[in-house]
Symmetry: C2
Subunit: 182 residues, 2 copies
Amino acid sequence: MNIRTLCLAILNFGQATGYEIKKMSSDTHYAYFVDASFGSIYPALSKLEVEGCLTSHEEREPGKPARKVYSITDKGRLELVSHMSDTPKKDIFKSEFLLIAMCAEMLERETVRKAIDNRILQLEEELKFIKDSSDETEHEGTKWIAGYGYACQENSLKYLIENREKLESLAQASSQELEPAE
Amino acid sequence: MNIRTLCLAILNFGQATGYEIKKMSSDTHYAYFVDASFGSIYPALSKLEVEGCLTSHEEREPGKPARKVYSITDKGRLELVSHMSDTPKKDIFKSEFLLIAMCAEMLERETVRKAIDNRILQLEEELKFIKDSSDETEHEGTKWIAGYGYACQENSLKYLIENREKLESLAQASSQELEPAE
DNA sequence: TAGGCCATGTAACCGGTTACATGATTAG
DNA sequence: CTAATCATGTAACCGGTTACATGGCCTA
């Protein structure tokens, strides 16, 4: 999916500024859709406005920078629906952690251990974040994808914890095997 | 991860041509790491050879195009290990299907149904493929990531099947609601 | 007073993809 | 005869990111 569609999808749930869209696309469940930076969001919003998919108005509060608040138009909503009605692209899953896991035998045990710990921490954070954001919303679609995400990550974590020893044992024993694994 | 590292990782398990690397990165478990096209693989291989991370020799068989077969060198192996010893980047998961799910209420029931069916089919194919490739290999690291992938996808599929009706009910009733959901 | 947050925007760059050029063999 | 598969490689393009410019407010 491209930045265009991301902007339309976010604005479909309410008006927002470019800055807010960037934050949402990094910190909220919108991160499931695309990565986006300021350098791509601002130009995309301008273009969408020129095309009539968005409108904007400026909000000025003394002592704060002017905010350019965008709202979606009927035309924008139409483009969003039309995009979603196409057969969706395959889900993408890319993992550097799995590369390390596959190559465990080449690596020191300590390296593998760190990578696993790191991945577990990430999953735990992710689970906490999904739970929080699901509790905060009343929107059914958002709740549904939160439930889906939670189930997937939870099982991923479970598998990792149950099978980490097997993976660690593939790695090369490193010199400092004196300390316990904690 | 970049194409460079992908090439090194694949060649670490045995020599191969650019053409074979491309196929592996699209059709095998190497697809978990990066997407790659010919246009990126061939230049990457040339550069790696110049830098001394790879060597190559030509194989000529009558009636077949010449194959340029690459092998990894100690220097290449060192770069691969060094890359993997860095803290890995976060796993990436991007899903157009989840966008459709989140916006189910805007879409026709038929559209949502198709998206779910499509996703289920993909997951089933993926599971079958993982099972096959796990059975074919003796390599422990590869078996481990296959097990991990299988567990994740299996649970994803389970959740989808158990919760699809809830999602479909969020969508707008379309005109042809006469036929049963099969 | 340094750094982080709010807020918008541009320009250079880059890591890729797409499409093209080339050509032989094999399967339908 | 056509399409697919094997096989290598280049060039144009593009969708992004990174870094920069700007500036005020708030917190540690």
